[in-house]
Symmetry: D2
């Protein structure tokens, strides 16, 4: 019963198979190989973005930090939620890669940036005052770190606000697949169609060993940036000599299908979401009330002491915050492409009824 | 006929098999898994360094830049050869990761640092003058970028000179396996036994997909450094969430054998070296004179216009510098664990006799 | 009627005289001169800190950013108020000098850090989790950017909380003189006596042309740091070749008196504070209610549209925020060592009665 | 007898007088004052560069490092002489400010960059290879650190070579005044007329307390750069709040005269040069042979043990390298605007005849 993180999941068999196929014989290094070309092309196709520039890397932190550094100068300011991965979980990688930019918090529910809060934040920080960090970017996570999903319209609204002030828009798409599977929006509509300048497309948590892509949708809007990103990737040690292996994962993960339903990445994410839905339904039936909206593949919920102990005893693995005075914890449960209905049901079976209608966690 | 680089080679089948084995089921992320533990332990065993701290990463540039940053402050100076990979081929990664340190050249044949030049360089740069970069590290590459190999005694002499001045010693061991196979020295004797503080152990070029290790041999000599390196790895985006896959490669590559002869990494490197030897013998028999000493798995040599054209026509792949007035080029030929005797012989067969006893390239 | 900032003030005549005296003949550069020695010694005396290390610089931003960089690693976290100068007004200088550290907000009234908020913030950020910025420093401003002054006991309480968690304590003392004059605390009691590790002592706003000092009170608590700060100062371009001129300003500003009352810096700050007191009294008599506690030399207050217009018409110079719907603004009024009672009275005379008991600004 | 450095000299009385004048009353901070406006305008006039952007700072290291950072990206390469101040004497400030760029050496006599060496260096480093630092700038020092002076034609030739490859051209003009006084070239002809993009104009060594200017001659050639430089200056702590005092020095130093002969800065430099000429003549008359061409205000020469001892005994102050086996040293003698003929003659009088025709120092 593994619910700790989607990064505990193994790679999908099709990905392993693709790795084996990519291992046949020699190939020119640093991306001058057919696998890299194919992966880049496939991303352009899937996102309906024929002129997009794609840079493959192998960790989400690298993708995010490089993307931010590409569009935020050292004296710049990136607006993001206080719970954003780039703010909380990357040990100052954005500050390192940008050469010292500042991340400024914008509030909103479930780790989303709200349009109102963004308007207010942007009004509060001047452009062109030499003493202050210069507003430069908006960064949003799709799906968010608290499991919420923006609709394409919501992304468009946020991006519109940001672009009207001259800011570039970054989407941390570590779980973009889950968000797309949840909303049914097309990859294009959810990203460049909604005003996203640069996307970090995450495959690692969603079915591969280690593969991410930085996608710059409209290089012409940002002269010189595509080449600059290549230089940044190299000097950060993120240009793989045997890039074909990263590329092969990415292509296999995306899959070959034409329609959304038949694309592997969306199918895998859809399964993870479905398992989260099954989990949520079961929890609610037992009187538990997840703090997270029902949309993607993770949820936070308050577990009273008895429930937490029962799950631990049953061998369920998940992250939990420190217990409160009554022994209750805030737990995070994450499903993945390989979570089974049996696992979900086993967790639910191990769970006593909620002691009392638990209040949602903050 | 692929002689462009050892990073064109695929991964060894045992490595692919290990990847598949590591893909069974879920595992905790960020190195909290048995594969990572095993790889770290195996490196400690192979290097006879029971207290060494090991950090796995996936590119050589990352390993080098992190290792240098760990021991060279932003105001520091790293002494290295002007042809060192860290100086030439990493797009300022060392400068980036260190926060602005300076690389200072020390001369020597075949991209080695010579003891005399090092003594002279160290005498020429003061410690403790606030206006100047502070001497902080020696960085050597084993085997060098021009194919030369230091003996363990030579390493010890250089490290002794450096340490006497308070400098830490870094070994870029991208091709350490080739150097060990060539000299027969033990991993321990060639590294910490000879005064190396920090090693970048390269597997990528020598038989895996992407795996490198930073090995800090004596953490007690450098209080706080091991933890600092972990933080540096994370904030540079080089801590893999699914680290098990990097680890599994490393363990499989090193192999399980007790003696040097039975360790896979040394066997693979020995094969690459043997193929280089076969190539060298054949070249010399045809009147060509490699500019590189006969020690590891790569060589530079001057090809006259006819020879170059003949090889190109035969489909040999290698890097060559710009042609001189007579059309001659300096070519680099690299063998790998998967180079076959047939490939070597085919290249030799395609080669006409040298037009004239070619002078060695500079 | 200049109330825009204390940095609009000229230098005190004694400072100009000292400059002229320092201009007699040649002197060795980079601080190897008697003026620098004297300034450093004088600071040690005034602060009763015989082993303190003193580094003179010429801007407050330089002093702050160097001090933070000395004690906060690139992966570190500095706790400060969201209105702190280091957070708001230095265009990411702390992020630049530290190599990418993060500033995290701690709340409190009038731009002070409150002990409760600090406790809570520290409890919320883990030490030793590799994914997160590492708590490293507390930075407080004395007097604060909103005019409040910490007592020595309050500083001690904050510093105690910080040090108990292993954090170093920085005091931005741009207006320390005003705070000392306001509280009557001794320089020693207010700084190292209260647990401050490193002080930025500001003279620029308080009576000189350009002079600041970084004071590291107990170098033995921070091995290597004093020398590191010297290197940082140099490589940031803040080591003046003709340092004597900065030093001469500092010594003249501090003055030669034994007791606090006779020290020039405290006398000048006392005058500025007294002028602020006179201003406050007059404002309150006219029905205005400054939002700032009556303690140092600056205050924020809400001016209704009529009052703002009247002051502007009379030639009063001060900063004001954007007008609200009714035309009211939040104004900042700052006094300095050269503000005269006549100027204060002229401003008050120009001011109509407050339209209504104005609510304090936020 | 002070010959250690021109930065040992005091400020010229006219500069002190200007400081006193600037000290009259309050003034708006951060350059929004008439003195700053006047200094910037005066520089534009003197350099016949009506659209130039001028940024005042207070140290040469700051000026150089900011100028380089403005035009060289973190992954860039600056070509300079191995003895350039930016390479030798700034404790990695260029690397710090650029975010990790690399300085690459180009040879030439007396610390000049030679056109031939520059051509060769540029041919040896590719543009557009992602693995390598990208050639970005040429930096030359006028006059050089070894006392040589480029003619305007020589500057134009170097700049032409650099610009043809897409490089920007930086001139470290710490002693530009001496070079102009020596050659008679106009400020315009020696700088932007010869292809210099960005100049660091040094006054500190030439008659003021602390004042330097970064001059960007043609902002339109570098869109966005002027504003970027302002942000860089601020976040590096080099924007003075009381900038009027830096500005007043600069204006007074430049002087008001129309023709070159009547401009104070050139007159002061001319005097320093003349004193160096007198010194050189005297040295040669006594059999000493300076290693430096007779052009600016500093010279290196070999002093035998006896001569060195005699000068020391007479109280002459100068820097000397370590003695060789025979006790001879390489000495550096620098004259300044305040060196007197009497001082020169006293040094010469203290000097015995050269033991033997000394060979020039390397």
């Amino acid at each position: 019963m593994m619910f700790a993180s989607d990064n505990t999941a193994p790679a999908h068999p099709a990905v392993m198979e693709a790795l084996a196929e990519a291992n046949a014989g020699t190939a020119m290094p640093y991306g001058a190989d057919p696998w890299t070309e194919a992966a880049e092309a496939r991303i352009r196709t899937v996102f309906e973005a024929p002129s997009a520039r794609v840079l493959l890397v192998a960790t989400g932190t690298a993708a995010n930090a490089l993307a931010l550094a590409g569009l935020c100068p050292p004296w710049g300011r990136v607006f993001c939620h206080r719970l954003a991965h780039v703010e909380v979980d990357e040990c100052n990688a954005p500050e390192f890669f940008t050469g010292g930019a500042k991340l400024t918090h914008v509030d909103g529910p479930h780790a989303t940036v709200s349009a109102e809060a963004l308007e207010k934040a942007l009004a509060g920080y001047a452009q062109g005052v030499v003493h202050e960090a210069q507003p430069a970017m908006l960064s949003i996570t799709q799906a968010t770190e608290r499991g919420a999903v923006y609709t394409a319209d919501e992304v468009a609204r946020l991006a519109g606000i940001a672009r009207a002030r001259g800011l570039a828009v970054h989407m941390d798409g570590t779980r973009l697949a889950n968000a797309l599977a949840s909303t049914g929006a097309s990859p294009a509509a959810m990203t460049h169609g909604a005003g996203v300048d640069i996307l970090c497309l995450g495959a690692t948590k969603c079915g591969v060993l280690a593969a991410e892509a930085i996608v710059l949708f409209e290089p012409d809007r940002h002269p010189g940036l595509a080449w600059q990103l290549e230089l940044r990737r190299k000097r950060a040690g993120h240009l793989f000599s045997k890039l074909r292996y990263v590329a092969a994962q990415m292509t296999a993960w995306l899959g070959e299908g034409e329609g959304a339903a038949s694309q592997r990445w969306l199918a895998l994410a859809g399964h993870a979401n479905a398992m989260a839905g099954r989990l949520r339904d079961g929890l609610e039936a037992r009187g538990f009330r997840p703090a997270t909206p029902p949309s993607a593949n993770l949820m936070y919920l308050r577990l009273d002491a008895g429930a937490h102990a029962a799950l631990q005893a049953a061998g369920a693995v998940y992250y939990a915050g420190p217990p409160d005075a009554a022994g209750a914890v805030e737990a995070r449960l994450v499903t993945s492409w390989c979570t089974t209905a049996g696992e979900v049901d086993a967790l639910l079976a191990a769970l006593p009824e909620a002691a009392a209608p638990a209040a949602p966690a903050a």
